[in-house]
Amino acid sequence: MSATENPIRDAITEAITEHDVLLFMKGTPEQPACGFSARTVAALEALGAPFAAVDILPDPRIRQELSGLSNWPTIPQLFVRGELVGGCDIITEMYETGELASVLGVAAPDEAPDTAPAAVEPGAPAPLQIDTDGLRPPTPGR
């Protein structure tokens, strides 16, 4: 797990540590590339909860390392305060029961709809990049 052995995993761990609410997804909050990611973003947006997002599509190693780290096979994955809370099914279920608002520390909507809304509100935060181009092992011998 040292920086010399696995820089992508280190970058993922660092992102999870640095962001209280972090969503690994396919695409971006503005342009989700998968229906599951879109539904999860919609639940977070509906609660007005601030969150950071990482697009896992640019490099297949991000997903590979993330799933190795979290022991969770699918995308999206929502981390809150360093802990994996769930993927689309769990987040949608928690949204509907009000547990998601509670975990995120935000007010639940006055009238929770039966299902998470499909539309994504504008104004989502800029996606976080796991910069794999910059993630090369340090030159040995330095």
Binding site: F36, P73, G86, C88, D89, I90, E93
Partner: protein, 76 residues
């Protein structure tokens, strides 16, 4: 190509006293499923750990032959 019966059998064989209902959400395409699994083995586990028990039945097949598996888990 996995079938709903195959998924059901694998879940029920691996998780004690479980009952699984598996739907093929692709209408026969066979790579996107929804499973509702009921087992006393889930008692006391978080949702994450309940779902992990089911995902563990399939290992690397998830994301491979099984493109997506939506889950709902209950103890009864």
């Amino acid at each position: 190509m996995p079938t709903t019966d195959e998924l059901k059998d694998r879940i029920e064989a691996a998780i004690p006293e479980s009952r699984a209902d598996v739907e093929d959400l692709t209408g026969g395409g066979g790579d996107h499923f929804r499973a509702t699994v009921v087992s006393p083995a889930f008692a006391g586990l978080s949702r994450i750990d309940q779902h992990k028990l089911v995902y563990d039945v399939f290992g690397a097949d998830i994301g491979g032959p099984i493109h997506a598996l939506s889950l709902s888990t209950r103890t009864e």
